[in-house]
Symmetry: C2
Subunit: 212 residues, 2 copies
DNA sequence: TTTGACATACCAACTGGTTGGTATTTACGC
DNA sequence: GCGTAAATACCAACCAGTTGGTATGTCAAA
């Protein structure tokens, strides 16, 4: 299948690394090839254009993060609200180390290329939306356990809306973290989000969960 | 002072427009000159480098938004919490029209250039932080009116922290809006933030505001 | 001997930036 | 208030380096 160990994979890894820290436009094809230890011929053998690499990188990112969250400890928690709070704790815990290590490739690229490369933007959007979708069942279950309609009839907010809002908070947290040179603000915002969700389920629940 | 009507000003306007929709790296000096109707000679007469233009654009953005918010209706509201909620209503109301018209230049640039152009990033950070700082007095006053310590001793959250969190939500909302092709998600997130703040001041206040 | 996976060498277009010049204000001695 | 010199604001042409992309070749496995 490959000469050394898959140039395509190495280019995707390089893209994740470089685009996360320099952005898509500022990362040249030569940069990517250099980082991956591969020639330009290999690049254009695997990808018809730089844009195609961008799309593939977003999809690669989706798979990476999908696996990360699938294996995360919060998946073991049974009670839906507890699992959601454990998810937020997990998101908070991984806000550590260098900025480009906990920052989101999809959000970074999406913001930069949404107008000029709609295809890349769509792949990034899909990455974020599909991750948000994994939260929806937890939220919906937690709502149902408290007699709330996940469609928002009784509360004015929906399970999917809250799932997306949590991604909004995380994406925004990354931006402020970049401005601040560290994750402190980001952690603080995740704490605010956690507090919000606790308040939502504490104050609006007419029927508290009988098991908790 | 100027030949036609200030090339420098026109370049800054062009930068705000182009960088908001294409990003900093993808916007070339030629693009900027073309949009501003000015030659490259003029560009490098007014700015020693493209990076310097980026810094100046962030500062220009700060002034623009500073004026916008200083003249906004929420400034007329007396009661602190009401003013804060009116601020959020204002932020929600201006989420309208084309993406590049309600999106934040500072957040867009900051995310893209934080590693490669620290000086630009600093200017963007300053723009966001100084705007957040205008919210702090409202929040602190609202907290004090309810017997809460703005430093966070009783609540675990501070006035400045909540101010920054609101910027986090807005910045994140812009990203998701770009993914969604419209402001709907962004508005939804501002609603969540508003609900959070209402819950914060409704549930944690031992001493409700006597005037409201 | 064909095919997939790369490498090498190359290209036209574009990049940020410089040069040397000109038109227009401004500062100021008179 | 006036002439003039210096400064400012701007322009057109140019430059070396880089850009994304291509044409052609190599080489091992099937």
């Amino acid at each position: 299948m490959s000469r050394s160990v898959n140039a395509r994979e190495k280019l995707l890894e390089a893209a994740v690394k470089l685009v996360r820290s320099k952005g898509f436009a500022a990362t040249s094809v030569d940069d990517l090839c250099g980082e991956a230890g591969v020639t330009k011929g290999a690049f254009f053998h695997h990808f018809p254009s730089k844009e195609a690499l961008g799309i593939a990188a977003a999809e690669h990112w989706s798979k990476m993060t999908g696996a990360l969250f699938a294996a995360a400890p919060y998946q073991q928690v049974d009670e839906p609200l507890e699992r959601l709070l454990a998810y937020l704790r997990f998101r908070r815990d991984i806000l550590d180390g260098e900025l480009c290590e906990f920052t989101c490739l999809a959000g970074t690229m999406l913001q930069e290329v949404y107008a000029e490369h709609p295809a890349i933007a769509a792949a990034c959007q899909e990455s974020i939306a599909s991750h948000a979708a994994t939260l929806e069942p937890m939220i919906a279950a937690a709502m149902l356990a408290r007699g709330l309609d996940p469609g928002g009839a009784s509360t004015g907010w929906t399970a999917s809306g809250l799932a997306l809002h949590s991604q909004v908070v995380l994406q925004g947290a990354f931006i402020l973290a970049k401005g601040n040179g560290g994750p402190a603000i980001a952690r603080d915002s995740v704490d605010h989000l956690t507090r919000y969700i606790c308040l939502l389920f504490a104050s609006e629940g007419a029927t508290p969960d009988p098991r908790s």
